[in-house]
């Protein structure tokens, strides 16, 4: 008898665990990725070919969680892209 009760409790615990895992509030996890490209020590805003790597089709700046670059590098790349945009080297939006 005691053994069976223990079994039931064990099952319930497993169920509860499963519900938590597939609930709405499950945290969205991103896989950490290594950057595919080497970031030079000086990010040149005139180097369009390099900056293009961080711009998907729509023309937006690629988020850090996708590109996998460090926060410092992301900041440098973002300012470089913005400078290039203001000089019409890169578009603001692509249709």
């Amino acid at each position: 008898m005691i053994d069976r009760e223990m079994d039931v409790i064990g099952e319930r615990d497993i169920m509860a665990g499963g519900e938590e895992q597939f609930g709405d509030k499950a945290p969205r996890r991103y896989q950490r990725r290594r950057p595919r490209q080497v970031i030079p020590d000086y990010v040149d805003w005139k180097d369009v070919e390099f900056l293009r790597q961080f711009i998907p089709e729509r023309g937006k700046i690629m988020p850090r969680r996708i590109s996998g670059v460090s926060a410092k590098d992301q900041r440098r790349i973002a300012t470089a892209i913005k400078r290039a945009r203001s000089m019409a080297l890169l578009p603001f939006v692509w249709e």
């Binding site: 020590d41 000086y42 400078r83 203001s86 019409a88 890169l90 578009p91």
Partner: protein
């Protein structure tokens, strides 16, 4: 004043004749020298298609100047560029600080690589250490 390095880039209207363009570039260089700066580099990027139309124009001449100076010549240059009808867009970027930072980063990485190489056993000594 400390000397700073700037990059000045401007886009010239594609309809300006070639002789007027060269005259404009010469005038810019002269103005910088007159105000106490020095032109390190002058780059003619040539005709380029713009990434988006500016003033209903899809092309433009790109000219880049690298200027060393106190910053006063930049103020004067920007004032003139704003008034000039031929220049449809310009940008000035101070680059000396970022370049110095980049140099420091490169030096640091090289130093780290050197120390690592010193401590890492070379291919000849590695088997001996294992034995």
């Amino acid at each position: 004043m400390a000397n700073r390095t700037y990059e000045v880039m401007y886009i010239v209207d594609p309809e300006t004749p070639a002789d007027k363009l060269t005259k404009l570039n010469e005038a810019v260089g002269k103005l910088i020298e007159k105000e106490g700066g020095t032109v390190v580099r002058m780059d003619d990027g040539g005709r380029r298609t713009l990434a988006y139309p500016i003033n209903k124009k899809t092309e433009g001449f790109y000219i880049l100047f690298e200027v060393e100076g106190s910053g006063q010549e930049i103020a004067e240059l920007e004032r003139r560029m704003r008034v000039n009808d031929m220049i449809i867009r310009y940008i000035t970027v101070r680059v000396d600080e970022d370049r110095k930072k980049a140099e420091r980063r490169t030096a640091k990485r090289e130093k780290r690589a050197a120390t690592r190489a010193k401590f890492r056993p070379t291919e000849e000594t590695a088997p001996e250490a294992a034995a």
